[in-house]
Amino acid sequence: MPILSLLIFLPLLATALILALPTRYKSSYKYIALAFTAIQFVLAGICYAQFDASKTGVQDLGGYQFIEQLSWIRLDLGSIGKLEIDYLIGIDGISMPLLLLSAFVMLMAIGASWNIQKSPKGYFALLMVLNMAVMGIFCALDFFLFYLFYEVMLLPLYFLIGIWGGARREYAAIKFFLYTLFGSVFMLLIIVGLYFSVINPLTGAHTFNMIYMMNPQNYLEGSIFGWEGYQEILGVSARLIGFIVLFFAFAIKVPIVPLHTWLPDAHVEAPTPVSIILAGILLKIGGYGIIRICYSIFPDMAALSNWWLGLIGVVSIIYGALNALSQKDLKRMIAYSSVSHMGFVLLGIASLTAEGISGAMFQMISHGFLSAALFFLVGVVYDRVHDRNIYSFRGLAQIMPKYTGYVAVAFFASLGLPGFSAFIGEAFVIIGSFNAASIGTGLPRWMALGGSIGILLSAAYLLWTLQRMFFGQIRLKGGESWSNALTDLNSREQIILFPTLALALLLGVMPALVFNNLNASVLNLVSFIQQFI
């Protein structure tokens, strides 16, 4: 059974179904979306269950699982050579957990969009297209295919933010689009360069196959990104330029400071479900891209520049946390906390140690559903009174005790309390970056310290917010009408929140559920890069 193709293209079927159904059945759209996403979740679960944790993946095609390969575009272009584009998908330990996470977060997002009133047809159709693109990104092993999904993802997001967003939605939508496109257009040039540099050893044709791009032996001598025959562009090593351009294309998604400014705007203007997807899945695409593409295709440059990546990670952690501390808008605060938490991912990746990279992966998973839960919780208040200002609320604990309970758990889980998943991720990243100095990967110990300060700051802004909004006397900006509107969580909201937070606890207690599957791939990646240190 082509399980991955099903996983990718089922949502497209849902889109077709939603578009084909006339508008008078509009109440059924959400059920269609939910059903298809649930099937996807089951399929992703099957992938998880059948996953062979001993297989390595990364730069070894034999180590990938559920591989599907079809020749897609074959063209003879004369002097450019034969164009060889495959429909090649497969997963390894790095993509599998993210695939499962995506299916889970999508399910949450559908749940959060239950009360969408404004043209539900377009909304759910776009959401399903986005779903397809995201799944495709995590499965694609052909760079052309990857790029296709990567760009296709932007269009539904533009419209989802632009049509269903808040007051400044036009600005936020185009800003988000331009930032990402700016990165990806230059990525396209690098893809073209790689295409000319790499030869499929079996057919002798140029190829877009990412796995072939990871093997130094497949590079033509003297080609632009070739290993032998040093090439320069304007006096800088061509491989370094390739690495930097790809890194920035993905780093915009992560996002790193100073390229993060689209994120708060997009989050604040986006409707709750889109915020959930943005924080839960799209930021991970940045981290995934850095591991899968930048690090695996340019391992030599990864080893060369990891000090800078680590620095960017630390700056993002601390700058994001300080910004979160000063925000008055709850959603904006959580958006900045995402910047800070994703900084850990970058720091962990930069450490080039098995602990660090595993920690980064774990942090991505953990942040994936925790930030989704946080945005969902913001959405709960916003739905009821259409206000998110922290200072508009006080003493919510007395009106909404259940809500306060969930918020408290989510906040504690996010700030890295031991026993929750975020702790494992952050701890491993810090261990990894601390050990990096002794292995000699070039990451100084003070960067680990920077990470710890970030954890401290995240405790400060989260706990301070908890105190400001939920404790003390009841004092609401909207007075009586607000206290009537602010009803406690209903069962739909609890059904969505409970499994998420339970998962945070479960993974915090049994991190092996994720680590076991990651391990072989991460070790392989680390040893692959360490040859170049």
């Binding site: 575009i73 063209l75 377009g122 760009e151 331009l178 040039l189 073209v192």
Partner: protein, 492 residues
């Protein structure tokens, strides 16, 4: 006269031998006469007569072309005045198909008045374009360019009723005739240097090598003036926004797509004949074209940012696309025309679709400002979804054919860069990538207005279903060719 008499029989032989290769064009000429006669005598009784004859003629011409394509002839006829190769056949095929679409567009859009003359003019323009793709003789080229130009002047002015439209037509005529005169001067200089009128003849190229540097530079710049007017690249682009906006949308569609195809083919033939030697004139030409391509991309895209009118915006957008086409032309090498042809056909497809949509909206809204599309996306989801998809293709985003076209052009340029390490080519790539980001801004103004903004009063819109279907079919083709480009690419 007496001196020629011994050769007359061989001349006639040559002409008789060449005629079969000229069948597609002869068909056009016969159709041209047929259309005029029909518009004079038959249109009174059956008003579609001239249209039907035009379509039949174009299809017949297409059949002959197909025959040439299948037999893969590579032949020179009429004393080397025309030379037919696979490139010319494919280019003419694209021109013909686009012209058929335009003819249908005209027929559907302007039913209120007799159009026989317009079809006749359309056919002469097609004839001129066909000659452009086949010829390597300067005289023939000049005649072809003038045939196209004069036909275009008539088309722009044909419907003019308002002051803006007459102004557009007059501007076009004045600008066009001056450019043509300058080009003719350039050609006469080239003939003076080389004593040969065939631009790919060895003696012609040898003459170019030996010509004095200043004079050859001037001659080449003069030549580019004429070509630049037809392609509307910088700095000869200034006419196009006014003309595009002022002319009826059907004619704008024609001007923005079909003539460009032929002129691009011509330019790429000239460059591929000249640029594989390394002398002053070829280096000069390379740098000039690179500079023009960069300036054209930047100016077209930056100026488009500020436009409020969809047609004017599309004029600047097509200037921007000319820059990309110039990139493709620059790296075109003999016998490897499929990238160029792919881009040209996609370009034609996208432009025709966009203008059909603009026209459909113009017909009911009465104007073409982007503002007036406010909130219409919800009312006409099919039209605006297709419109948005085509705009996405124009930006060059997957999964559309516009992306594949751009990718292939970039690949060609990159390959050349890898071979020669020339900074100019790298600059072309960077500017090409940067301007695609810029272009997102203005193309997306349309979906932005249609979908993201609220409606301010809904006009009663009645669409022409035939045209709308053509537009949507073009959109579907753009999508399918984006996912399976080899369908079209392997045909070239």
């Amino acid at each position: 006269m007496l001196a020629f008499s011994p050769y007359i029989s061989s001349f006639i032989d040559q002409i008789i031998v060449s005629v079969p290769y000229f069948k597609p064009e002869l068909t056009l000429i016969v159709t041209f006469i047929g259309t005029i006669l029909a518009s004079l005598f038959i249109d009174k009784y059956w008003k579609h007569a001239s249209f039907v004859i035009t379509i039949i003629g174009l299809l017949l011409s297409g059949c002959y072309l197909l025959g040439q394509g299948i037999s893969r002839v590579e032949i020179a006829g009429f004393f080397d005045m025309i030379s037919i190769d696979a490139f010319a056949i494919a280019a003419r095929m694209i021109i013909l198909l686009a012209t058929i679409l335009i003819a249908v567009f005209i027929q559907q859009r302007h039913q209120e008045r007799p159009l026989g003359d317009l079809y006749a003019v359309l056919l002469t323009a097609t004839l001129g374009l066909n000659l452009l793709t086949m010829s390597s003789n300067w005289l023939m080229i000049f005649i072809a360019v003038e045939t196209v130009s004069i036909s275009s002047y008539i088309m722009v002015g044909y419907f003019s009723t308002t002051k803006v439209q007459s102004e557009a037509a007059l501007k076009y005529v004045l600008f066009g005739s001056i450019c043509a005169a300058v080009m003719l001067y350039g050609l006469s200089l080239l003939y003076g240097f080389t004593g040969n009128l065939n631009f790919d003849a060895p003696s012609h190229i040898a003459g170019l090598m030996e010509a004095p540097q200043i004079m050859i530079s001037i001659a080449l710049l003069f030549l580019l003036t004429g070509i630049g007017f037809k392609l509307s690249f910088f700095p000869f682009h200034v006419w196009s926004p006014d003309v595009y906006q002022g002319a009826p949308t059907v004619i704008t569609t024609y001007l923005a797509t079909v003539p460009k195809i032929a002129v691009v083919v011509l330019l790429s033939k000239i460059l591929s004949a000249w640029l594989n030697v390394s002398f002053y004139f070829s280096d000069f030409l390379t740098y000039v074209i690179i500079a023009i391509a960069i300036a054209t991309m930047l100016i077209g895209n930056l100026a488009a940012l500020r436009q409020q009118d969809a047609k004017r915006m599309m004029a600047y957008s097509s200037i921007g696309h000319t820059g990309i086409l110039l990139m493709a032309v620059l790296v075109y090498q003999n016998n490897e025309s499929n990238v160029l042809l792919f881009y040209l056909s996609i370009y034609a497809l996208m432009n025709i679709a966009v203008f059909i949509f603009i026209d459909a909206l113009e017909a009911s809204l009465g104007n073409t400002t982007i503002e007036s599309y406010r909130g219409l996306g919800k009312q006409y989801p099919l039209l605006f979804t297709s419109f948005s998809i085509v705009l996405i293709a124009l930006v060059g985003l997957p999964p559309t054919a516009g992306f594949v076209g751009k990718l292939l052009v970039f690949s060609k340029v990159f390959e050349q860069y890898q071979n020669f390490q020339s900074f100019g080519l790298l600059a072309l790539l960077l500017v090409g990538a940067l301007t695609s980001v810029i272009s997102l801004f203005y193309y997306f103004k349309i979906p932005l207005n249609a979908f993201l903004r609220e409606n301010t009063g809904s006009p009663a819109v009645k669409f022409n279903m035939v045209l709308l279907c053509i537009g949507i079919l073009c959109t579907v083709a753009v999508l399918i060719l984006g996912i399976f480009p080899d369908v079209l690419l392997s045909a070239f």
